[in-house]
């Protein structure tokens, strides 16, 4: 009898021991999922993300249309000039009006999205790869390597990015790819700095030592331990960088060293329109608002990402 009672108690105890913890322990959420959950909570960040997705969609659609129609629409509506309808104000037929050469501004905006977006993205990717690698190497190895890399970065950083880009374009010519390289180079130093700072912090963590203690090579430690854990700040910086890159590309186009006419790049549209500002307000305001909205979205998304990735805000 006594044994039985004890067994029953033992069993009851095992039941409770095994039960309530199951659900509580295992949330099974990766860091990415947690970041996304926090990101989703910010309405402004989600607005930014939605607007950018919309732009990406527009760009892809226009590219597809060009391929399918063999650039017919592009040639007829985006490039083709119509002197008769110069500077026409927005109307039912042309929702955003016509520009100084009689082209539909809405069509030009839609077709121009890809330049602003993809050129800036490309230049930031270039800058991230080069700057990130340099920063990671400088931060991880320290000492002389660090000194040499970072002093070169300091020299680059001491030139205004715009001036740097201007120099590169002036030297290489105004081909689209050169603009991308020029803008990319101007962002390398800031990315190198950001990544170096976070690598310096991560490299002191004990899990790096643990990896060394099992005999990992430097390459493995950098690629599997250091970089994945240092990415958060540079992703944020990169998002904000895209906004800056759009501005830089637009500025380059504005001064005539970026994308060349008649391509419908937004900065170029703004630049061409500036002589007619007094006669027709819409041809400057519309591309201006487009640029502004894009940059605002990128900044909002960047802020949201930073908040979502900051472990201090966690819990």
């Amino acid at each position: 009898m006594i044994m039985k009672k004890q067994e029953r108690i033992q069993k009851a105890r095992e039941d409770v021991l095994n039960k309530p913890y199951e659900a509580a322990d295992v949330k099974q959420r990766s860091l990415f999922q947690e970041t996304w959950m926090r990101f989703r909570r910010s309405k402004t960040a989600m607005f930014g993300l939605c607007f950018l997705l919309f732009l990406v969609l527009v760009s892809i659609t226009t590219v597809v249309i060009d391929v399918v129609t063999d650039q017919e629409i592009y040639n007829n509506y985006v490039i083709e000039q119509d002197p008769a309808s110069r500077l026409q104000l927005p109307s039912g037929e042309h929702l955003l009006g016509m520009d100084e050469l009689g082209r539909d501004i809405l069509m030009r905006l839609l077709w121009g999205a890809r330049y602003s977006l993809f050129m800036s993205l490309l230049s930031i990717v270039v800058a991230l790869l080069v700057g990130g690698a340099l920063g990671a190497i400088a931060g991880y190895f320290g000492g002389k390597t660090d000194n040499i890399i970072m002093r070169i970065m300091d020299v680059l950083l001491s030139m205004p990015p715009m001036l740097l880009a201007l120099t590169v374009v002036a030297a290489l010519g105004t081909a689209t790819i050169n603009v991308v390289v020029a803008v990319g180079v101007s962002f390398v130093p800031s990315f190198a700095r950001v990544l170096r700072a976070s690598v310096l912090q991560v490299k002191e963590q004990e899990y790096i030592e643990a990896a060394k203690a099992v005999g990992s090579s430097h390459f493995r430690i950098i690629t599997q331990f250091v970089i994945p854990n240092s990415l958060a700040p540079i992703i944020v910086q990169g998002t904000l960088g895209v906004a800056n890159a759009i501005l830089t590309i637009a500025s380059l186009s504005f001064v005539g060293l970026g994308v060349q006419s008649p391509l419908p790049e937004w900065g170029l549209m703004l630049s061409n329109a500036r002589n007619y500002m007094r006669e027709a307000w819409h041809i400057t305001v519309v591309p201006g608002i487009a640029i502004m909205l894009t940059i605002l979205s990128l900044n909002l998304m960047g802020d949201g990402l930073r908040d979502a990735m900051d472990p201090k805000l966690k819990n």
Binding site: Q205, E209, A210, A211, A213, V214, G215
Partner: protein
């Protein structure tokens, strides 16, 4: 000559200096000791006494400034890069901070499997073999199988520390440096981990270098204890002996300062004045002399002798055992 068993670890005159802006920091300064196979050496001392640096220098996570480390009779400090990598599967480390010592981007199974792949024990494509080994190790340290794909941030400190132990054990090492493995844990979890470490030592015949500042933990686990002060060994002896007859004035003060969980426990308590001096470019003589109540002129200059007061009981003091 009679066959004498080789100690698992033998450290001779090990020094590790760090260059700082203010001068050389003597983190570990001429430390010698040995640990027999299957035994535990407890290293105690206060923060900044160089005990963590000692553990890391033995594993060559820091390159020693001078001195020798023999592992099973082989000089580790002379190993080539390739030989060192091989030796790492026999010498592992468990860290203090269960939060900082795990890569937050790796799941439990990835963390435990990583050393196996690095050391070439398993091919990265041999998913089944690795999974089996991971399950085995998780079982050994008492981690439930359902946690296999969780990330460290989802687990509590006790479980994280078990992952840290599992990572060290997966390579089946002979010798483990335990760097304050329980200091960051709550008392009840601490006891679970200590029991686990004891069981593993018995099952696997492990040799431990157990670094801690907690005197009751070190007494509980160790066969021998080494007390360190500002990078130097001040006392070395059998664990029980140290508590029965502490001979260095610093050890005496350290032991008397421990709050004992018994309201009726009364003993002479020694209040040490001042705090640790800097280990940067230390003055010659005994480093404890400034805070020592027995210090005389001779303590402030020259070499401090290491005396063997009883067989196996070493004290670095001019006046060992004075009280």
């Amino acid at each position: 000559m009679a066959e004498k068993s080789v100690p698992t670890l033998q450290v001779e005159h090990l020094k590790k200096y760090f260059k700082t802006k203010k001068g050389w920091l003597h983190a570990v300064d001429d430390v010698s000791f040995s640990i027999e196979s299957g035994q535990t050496l407890g290293v105690v001392g206060e923060s900044g006494c160089g005990k963590s640096t000692l553990g890391r220098t033995i594993l060559r996570l820091h390159e020693p400034t001078s001195g020798k480390v023999y592992f099973n009779g082989e000089d580790v400090t002379a190993f080539s890069k390739a030989r060192m990598k091989q030796a790492r599967s026999d010498m592992q480390i468990i860290f203090q901070d269960p939060y900082a010592s795990l890569n937050p981007r790796m799941t439990v199974s990835q963390t435990i499997a990583y050393p196996l792949i690095i050391q070439g024990k398993y091919d990265a494509r041999d998913k089944e073999g690795i999974a089996k080994k991971v399950r085995e190790v998780m079982d050994m340290v008492g981690l439930a199988q359902r946690l296999v794909n969780t990330y460290p941030h989802e687990l509590d400190g006790g479980r994280r520390q078990r992952i840290g132990i599992a990572r060290a054990l997966s390579l089946e090492p002979k010798f483990i440096v335990c760097d304050e493995p329980v200091s960051a844990l709550d008392v009840s979890i601490q006891a679970q981990i200590l029991n686990l470490m004891q069981d593993l030592q018995q099952q696997l015949g492990l040799t431990y270098l157990f670094i801690t500042h907690n005197m009751s933990v070190v007494k509980h686990l160790s066969d021998n204890i080494m007390v360190m002060y500002l990078g130097q060994m001040v006392e070395f002896c059998e664990a029980k002996q140290l508590f029965r007859n502490p001979c260095h004035p610093y050890t005496q003060a350290l032991l008397s300062a421990i709050p004992v969980p018994d309201p009726d426990y009364k003993t002479e308590r020694i209040l040490l004045e001042g705090e640790l001096t800097s280990p940067i470019n230390p003055a010659p003589g005994c480093r404890f002399a400034k805070r020592c109540r027995y210090a005389t002129e001779q303590c402030f200059g020259g070499e401090t002798p290491v005396k063997e007061v009883e067989p196996g009981h070493f004290v670095a003091c001019h006046f060992p055992g004075k009280r």
